[in-house]
C-alpha cells in the first residue's frame, strides 16, 4: 500500500514536471522546438537567412526529416537529412549566432583523423575527417558566414561534404 502511495506520488511528480517543461513553450514561442518545414521557421522566428544546399546527393531524402529552430537565447537552426532507404541521419546542417552551439549528437566524429583549414569559396573553413559512431567514415566542415557559424556534418567522404557546403554559398 505504501509502495503504491509512493509510486502514485512519483507519477504525479513526473506529470507535473512534464507540464512545467511544456509551459515555457506555450509562453515563449521562439525557444527551441521542432518545425514542419523551413517556411514555418521563417514565418515563426523571422529568420531572414537559412542556409540550404542546392546540391543534394541522390541517396538522401528531401525535405529535411527534422527541423529544429530557436530565436532565443540566440538564433539557431538545425536540419537533419535521412538516407532515402532507411531512417539513419546522414547529413546534419546547423547555423547559429553562438560559437558554442554544436549539435553533434546525431553525427558525431568520435575519432578525428585529419583536421585542416580549407578555403571554401574564399571563406576560411575548418575541415575534419574521421570516423563516426558506427565506425563509418564521416566528415564535418564549419565556417563563419556573416553573423552565423555554420556546421555541416555528413556520413560521407569529405569530397561530397565540400560539394554540399559549397552549394550553400553563392
Amino acid at each position: 500500500m505504501r509502495f503504491f502511495a509512493f509510486s502514485a506520488g512519483v507519477a504525479i511528480l513526473v506529470f507535473g514536471l512534464k507540464f512545467f517543461n511544456w509551459l515555457p513553450l506555450m509562453i515563449q514561442v521562439d525557444s527551441m522546438r521542432g518545425y514542419r518545414d523551413l517556411e514555418e521557421v521563417r514565418g515563426a522566428l523571422q529568420v531572414k537567412t537559412i542556409f540550404v544546399p542546392s546540391y543534394f546527393p541522390q541517396h538522401l531524402s528531401w525535405p529535411p526529416s527534422r527541423i529544429l529552430a530557436q530565436r532565443k537565447p540566440f538564433p539557431a537552426v538545425i536540419m537533419e537529412f535521412e538516407k532515402m532507404t532507411s531512417k539513419d541521419t546522414m547529413l546534419l546542417i546547423s547555423q547559429s549566432t553562438s560559437e558554442d552551439f554544436l549539435p553533434e549528437e546525431k553525427i558525431r566524429l568520435i575519432q578525428v583523423e585529419e583536421n585542416v583549414t580549407y578555403s571554401l569559396k574564399g571563406r576560411e573553413a575548418l575541415l575534419r575527417v574521421g570516423v563516426c559512431q558506427r565506425n563509418e567514415p564521416c566528415s564535418g566542415i564549419s565556417w563563419k558566414e556573416g553573423e552565423y557559424k555554420i556546421q555541416v556534418l555528413a556520413i560521407s567522404t569529405p569530397f561530397e561534404l565540400i560539394r554540399i557546403a559549397e552549394s550553400m554559398l553563392r
Binding site: 509502495f3 512519483v10 511528480l13 525557444s31 527551441m32
Partner: protein, 330 residues
C-alpha cells in the same frame, strides 16, 4: 562573459542543475516521508541527507555517464529542460535567469551571515572558552539531578546568571553550561531532562559525520533548497537528541515541560513592540521557532514509532528514484 554563455559553461550548468536536482530530490523525499508515514527523526534525517549530498555529485557524474547530456537533442527529450525557463524573458524584456542568480546570491549571503559566521564564531569561542562557572559536582543542590546519568567525559558547569541559559560546547571535550536562573525556573526532573538533551548534542558532535555533512553543505552555499533542508536536518537533530534524553531519563513529560518553560513562555515578550520590517521578521522567526518547539513537545507526548525496517527500504527506493529521475532533468 554574457549570462547565457555562463549558463552553458560547466560551472553555470553545475549551479543550475544542482539547484533543479535538489528541488526534485526534495519532492521525492517528501513523497517518501508521506507515503511511509515516517516519523522517526533518524530516518527522516537520513532521507533529508539525500537532498544535501546528491546535488553535489549529480551533474558531474551524469556528465561522465553521458557527455551528450547537455546537448540540444537530450534537452528536447528530457523530463525538464532548465534552459527553457532560464531563457525566458518576462514581458519580453527581463530574463528570468537574472531572477535565478539573484536568488542564488541572496542564499549565499544568508548562508554566510546566518550559518557560516555564527558556526565559525561558536567553534572559536568553544576552543578558547573563557566561560567560568561552578562545576556541577560542587553545586550542592542540583548535582543530584544528573548524578545517575552516564555522562562520562562531559563537564557540567553552573553559571551565576539570573537569565535562563542552557548550552553546550562541542568537540572532543564538550561541556554543558546552565545558569542559576535556569535552575530556579526548572524543577529537578526538568533540569535532568534538559541536561540529558544537551549531553546528546555533545555526544553527536563527536561524530565526524556531522562535520563532513556541514562541509558538503558549504559546497551548496548558493542553493536555497539545501539551505532550507539543512535547517530541517538540524531540527530533526533536536528530535534525535530529545529521544536520546528520554532514553536516559525515561521521563518524556519532564523534557516536554522543560521545553515549554524555556521556550514557549519566553517568546511572549515580542508582543507590544512597534511594528517594522525587522520586528516582523523577528516575529516570523520566533513563530517558526515556536512551531518547532511545539512539534517537539507534541512528539514527546505521543512518542515516535520507528519504521519497521528502520526505513531502509524507503531510503533505498528514494535514492534510486532520485538518481533515475534527475538524470532526465537538465
Amino acid at each position: 562573459m554574457e549570462f547565457s554563455a555562463f549558463l552553458n559553461s560547466y560551472p553555470g550548468s553545475y549551479i543550475v542543475q544542482s539547484f533543479y536536482h535538489s528541488v526534485i530530490a526534495t519532492a521525492i523525499v517528501e513523497i517518501a516521508i508521506k507515503a511511509w508515514g515516517i516519523r522517526n527523526p533518524k530516518v527522516r534525517q537520513r532521507l533529508l541527507l539525500i537532498v544535501i549530498i546528491f546535488p553535489i555529485f549529480s551533474f558531474p557524474v551524469y556528465q561522465i555517464i553521458n557527455p551528450q547530456r547537455s546537448s540540444v537533442y537530450f534537452r528536447l527529450e528530457s523530463l525538464l529542460d532548465s534552459s527553457r525557463w532560464l531563457d525566458m524573458e518576462l514581458w519580453g524584456v527581463v530574463p528570468i535567469q537574472y531572477g535565478f542568480f539573484l536568488m542564488f546570491f541572496l542564499t549565499a549571503v544568508i548562508f554566510l551571515f546566518q550559518e557560516l559566521v555564527p558556526i565559525l564564531r561558536h567553534t572559536y569561542e568553544s576552543k578558547g572558552s573563557g566561560i567560568s562557572g561552578e562545576r556541577a559536582e560542587e553545586h550542592s543542590v542540583m548535582a543530584q539531578a544528573w548524578k545517575d546519568l552516564p555522562m562520562e567525559k562531559t563537564d557540567i558547569f553552573v553559571l551565576e546568571d539570573d537569565d535562563v541559559v542552557l548550552f553546550s560546547t562541542t568537540g572532543r571535550k564538550g561541556s554543558i553550561y546552565l545558569s542559576s536562573g535556569l535552575l530556579r525556573v526548572l524543577d529537578k526532573e526538568q533540569v535532568r531532562a534538559a541536561v540529558a538533551h544537551e549531553f546528546a548534542h555533545v555526544i553527536r558532535s563527536r561524530q565526524p559525520l556531522l562535520v563532513i555533512l556541514f562541509l558538503f553543505r558549504i559546497i551548496m552555499f548558493y542553493n536555497p533548497i539545501v539551505l532550507m533542508e539543512f535547517r530541517r536536518i538540524v531540527q530533526e537533530d533536536e528530535k534525535i537528541c530529545d529521544d536520546f534524553a528520554v532514553s536516559l531519563t525515561r521521563n518524556p513529560n519532564a523534557l516536554a515541560d522543560a521545553l515549554r518553560k524555556l521556550y514557549i513562555t519566553e517568546e511572549e515578550g515580542m508582543q507590544g513592540k512597534t511594528k517594522n520590517l525587522m520586528t516582523e521578521m523577528e516575529a516570523l522567526e520566533l513563530y517558526s521557532h515556536r512551531l518547532n518547539i511545539e512539534s517537539r513537545i507534541a512528539r514527546l507526548g505521543i512518542g515516535a514509532p520507528n519504521a519497521g525496517d528502520n526505513g531502509w527500504f524507503a531510503t533505498g527506493l528514494t535514492i534510486v528514484v532520485v538518481l533515475v529521475m534527475n538524470y532526465f532533468i537538465v
